[in-house]
Amino acid sequence: MTDSILFIMTKPPYGFEEFFAGARASLAMLASGLIGRSTLLLVGDGTLNAVASQDPSAVKMPSNIEAINDLADFEGEVYCIADDLKSRVGEVQVIDGVKMVSWDKARELVSEHQMITTF
């Protein structure tokens, strides 16, 4: 019996459908009413999904910003490893609702969730 799941998001936006697919899966967990907590953790290239200035209309892809906003409607949490984003693209503005965190917080999230999956 599992009541909580952590989605570790490792893929950058718009080259793959992975981020969108993972965010949708996390939303489905919350929408189902069966899983109490479903959380995203952005790591590595996955942190690039937090960049506020993204514009998926340029390549006609569905928006990862909207996917994150949809999660907020169901009280889904979204965390992002601050150092991984900074080491890639420096200081940039991030999407509202994404919490920038350190690996200490990531380790807490791993302990707090019963299952972990990777996208």
């Binding site: 490792t10 790591v43 590595g44 690996w103 990531a106 380790r107 791993v110």
Partner: protein
């Protein structure tokens, strides 16, 4: 304390998420379970050393290692196992699996 089993499928040269082993595993009991091209960690001295410094034990799928020409060549911390044992490792010995 949460124990973590890191599941790895990619070649040491292809895997970009080793940081997860280093960082998420800090302070936990942790192991790696190697499938497919990840079994090269068992025979690649440099990459194997890196991995073994970050985990407490490493399980290597024997069939994948044999297919690649290195049957019985896993040494030290690297332990060749079959599928029934892999199931046991996943289901009974660790609290979480994290595929990287």
């Amino acid at each position: 304390m949460t124990s973590i089993l890191f599941v790895m499928l990619k070649s040491p040269h292809e895997n970009v998420n080793l940081e997860l082993v280093d960082e998420l595993g800090k302070g936990s009991k942790k192991a790696a379970l190697l499938f497919e091209d990840a079994v090269y960690y068992a025979v690649d001295k440099k990459q194997g050393k890196h991995l073994s410094e970050h985990v407490d034990e490493v399980f290597v799928m024997a069939d994948d290692l044999a297919a690649r020409g290195f049957k019985g060549k896993a040494t030290g911390m690297f332990k060749e196992i079959d599928y029934p044992e892999a199931v046991d490792v996943i289901m009974e010995r660790y609290d979480r699996t994290v595929t990287i």
